[in-house]
Structures are given as structure tokens and as C-alpha cells.
Amino acid sequence: MLKVDSLSKRFDGVQAVRDASFNIQQGTVTSLIGPNGAGKTTLFNMICGYIKPDGGTVHFKGKDINASPPYAIAAMGIGRTFQNLRVIKMLTVLDNILLSVPDHQMNGILGPIFKVLRKNSELGCREKALELLDFVGLREKADDLAGSLSYGQQKLLSLACCFALEPSVLLLDEPVAGVNQEMIINILTLIRRLKETGIAVFFIEHNLGAVMEVSDRLIVMDEGSIIADGIPSVVREDPAVVEAYIR
């Protein structure tokens, strides 16, 4: 469903990503691990359209999405979270989710004017948004400012936001970093439940315990290249992988 072919990127004289190729299928959980600076986040950024690759292609459901802007890729069905936890602290929890509501009136630059003149009801969307908050367990916090939530709760919110657009693939950048054990279990459970709904989850993590718990497949990167790709129990014994981590 998500097919990455020979993606490469060079930054400031360093080859950040070198010839990355793999296929992500529906209903699977794949994790991406590797030492710091291995190029994992850069890979994510290229898939989601935030960075232009130097070479290679990305196909999503058969369509070449290389030239698409990030917002279009998000709308197409690739959701993502960010390493440095982005949520809009000044908006309420509910409003953060409601950002996903498509703005039909934005079809023209002057669209918003007509939106103002016509009383626009978002009730249907509110209901759906509240259900999403239910799914992650944040419903009671719906009207609180996102900034007032704890770090772990904000992480849950960012998860809820990234599947507000009903994605088929989720790219999560370090979903369990910086939270306590209880929250880790919480988030891993959510990932399993998402997998059951047929969504493909692809996540970067440093927490190997979490990775082994929940992944069907493990991809390892080191210094820009993919050095292993397969079943977690097998990959983790791979000498190249072990060496990369010791180094």
C-alpha cells in the first residue's frame, strides 16, 4: 500500500538517507529503529512530503505522491505524529481534533466570507471528534486547553489528531518516548487496536521493549541505509544490527 523505492537525501554534505526501499501492507505494525542520526525522521519527512527527496519515489495506493504537498498527503490518508510532540496548546483538545474538518468553503480565497455569512453547523463533526477522544481516553478533557494537559495526555491527543483524517497508514515518530510505563502500555494497546481496524502502523522508536511487544516487522537503519528488514525476533539477532548499536 505504501511503497518506498530507493529514497535518498543528502544534507550539508552528509548522506542522510541512502536508497531506502520497502513496502508497508495494510493491517501490519512495522517499526523503524536505529541509532541517532540514522536518518529515520528524514525518511518520514520525505514520505509525508515535508522534504523533497534527492532520488527515489514514494507510491501510496498506486499513486506517485512525490510531488504532493504535505497537507495533500495527509488528506490522502497518511497520518503522522512528530518527534517533538506538536499539538496546538492554545486551542482546546476538541478544537485540535476539529482542525481535521475539511473546509469546503476554502475552495476560493474569499470562501471564508461566505462561511461567515452562512451559519455553519459542525455538530456532526463534533460528535465524531468526541468519539475519537473517547478512543484515546481524553473525552473529559475535550474543552480544556491542550496546553494544560500532561505530556502523556498531549501524546494521546497527537495520536488522536493523526487519525482524525481517517488514514490508512500512520507514521508515528517515537510514540512512547518520554512517558511513564502505564502510558506506554496504553499507547501500545491503542496501536494494536488500530491494527485491528486495518490501518498500517509504521513507527520510529528507541524503546526496544515496546518495539518487540507490538511489531510484526522490524526495519533497522544505520547511517542512512536500511541494514535489516524482517521479523523482529530474527532481525534482532542479525550481527549487523548488533554491531550498529554497539558502535
Partner: protein
Amino acid sequence: MDYILHILIMVGIYSIVAMSLNLLAGYTGLISVAHAAFYGIGAYTTALLALKVGLPFWINIPAGILVSGAVAFLIAWPSLKTYDDYFVITTFAFQIIIFSIMNNWVSFTGGPLGLPGIPQPTIFGITISSHLFFLSFVVAFGILTYMFLTRLVNSSFGRVLKAIREDEIFTMSMGKDVMKYKVSVFVIGAAIASIGGSLYAYYISFIDPTSFTIMESIFMLSIVIIGGAGSLRGSIVGAALLIFIPEILRFIGMPNSIAANMRQIFYGGLLVFFMMFRPQGLLGEFAFGKSGHKEPKEVRKNA
């Protein structure tokens, strides 16, 4: 009494302009110093149509809005390719260029001599000649502007604006074409500012380029910032504060020769004060961000 009405009219006009700039700078985080240019385009369009063609205000003011909006649209796309402080510089450049056109295109705009003798607006045959009548005229537009903008910023559109202000990248990841939103507020902000300009032209009945300089833009921005970025009410309070107080100073006997300077020192000083101690201004919610949020150099946003 007439003097007080005059002050109130100016507060009214500047409130409208400040609210429109607030939409851009306070709600969306796009700090622009080109607003005096759009204010001026509204003034010149209305003045020319009233003076040379004799059209009534209910055609002239919308005409100003259209011209201003069109110019804003043209410069929005290139300007919005730059970010944060570079965006300010870009708007600075456009402000100077538009001012140069106002000042140098003598055959059209009258150049430095401006356009004198703008006729007063008439409603149903009655000329709005008294200050009181004109004040009601301005207040009517002010209320309309306030209501329109309040609806806008409280709608889902407004929600996206605030999100853009705080984190563009996240907003994109929620499927929003951020560029389109920015162009949209830029145009709407310019269009409403032009209403203020049109009212100004009618009120003073004579306009010249010196009312539409970069310093004027900075003054408008100061109102928005001091009143509060992200608060429409703040813009009204800010306008009142920055116009009333200097007038009071003049009243208590400050010599006229330095009154203009003191006025500027007053709002310049307030600007520095607020930036140091309360960047969100009196009633605002946006404090212009922390330095942690640099815009990525390689991000493709405008594919």
C-alpha cells in the same frame, strides 16, 4: 465638543484598520508593515471615484475594497514565501514600493500634492457634513467590521488561523493548505483596511501620500500589538489608547512643535515596554512565539 468628536472618529477609523491587521498579525501570526499601503489604496480609490467620477460612497468603498484586495492578492503569493522576520522585510519592501507609486505617479494620484476637495458622502440625498453624523457613519462600519471579524475568528476558519500561528507544520499534517489560508487572511485584512482608508478620505476630504507611509504602518502595528495580538477588542482599546493619550498630553500644554514627536515616543516606548514585559499586549493571547520554533529551511510548503 467637535474636537472630541474628531478624536472619536479617528479612533473609529483606526479601530477598523487595527482589527483588520490583527486578523493577519494577531490571529495568524503574519506581522505585516504594509497595511498603510492598503489603507492608502482604499483612500485613493474612493477619493478618485468620488472626485473624478462622482460616484456615491456605496460604490466607492466597495471599489476600494476590490482594488485593495486585488493588489493584496498579487503580492500575497510572493510575500508568503518568506517567513517570520523575513516576511516583515518583504512587507516593508512592498509598502515602500506602493508608497513610491502613490508619490510619483503624479498624473493619477496627484503625487506629493495629493487629492484635495473630496466631496462628502451622501446617504439618501443627505450630505454627511457634521462630525456627529460622520461619527455614526464610522461607528456603523466599525460595528459591521467587528461583527464580521468576530464571526470569522470564532469559526472553523479562525481555528485554523490560530493553529497556523502556533504550528504551521502540525496544521499541514491535519490536511490544511496553509498557504491558501494565509493568502486569504492577507487579502481580507487588506480589504477591510481599505474601508478605513475610504472613511479617512471622506472625513479629511483631502489625502496625500504622507498619510500612508511606513511609519503609519508601524503605528497601526503598534496599536495591534499594544492592544493585544489575537484580540479584536484589544485593537479597539489599543486605538483608543494610542490616540487619546497623546491628545491629552497636547491638552495639558505640551508645545505643538514637539507634540508629534512625543506621540511617537509614547507608542514607541509602549512597544518596547510591552515586548519586554508583556508581548501579548493588553488583551491579547499571542506573544509572538518563542525562539524554539524556527521555520525549517527545506520544507516544501508551496508545491
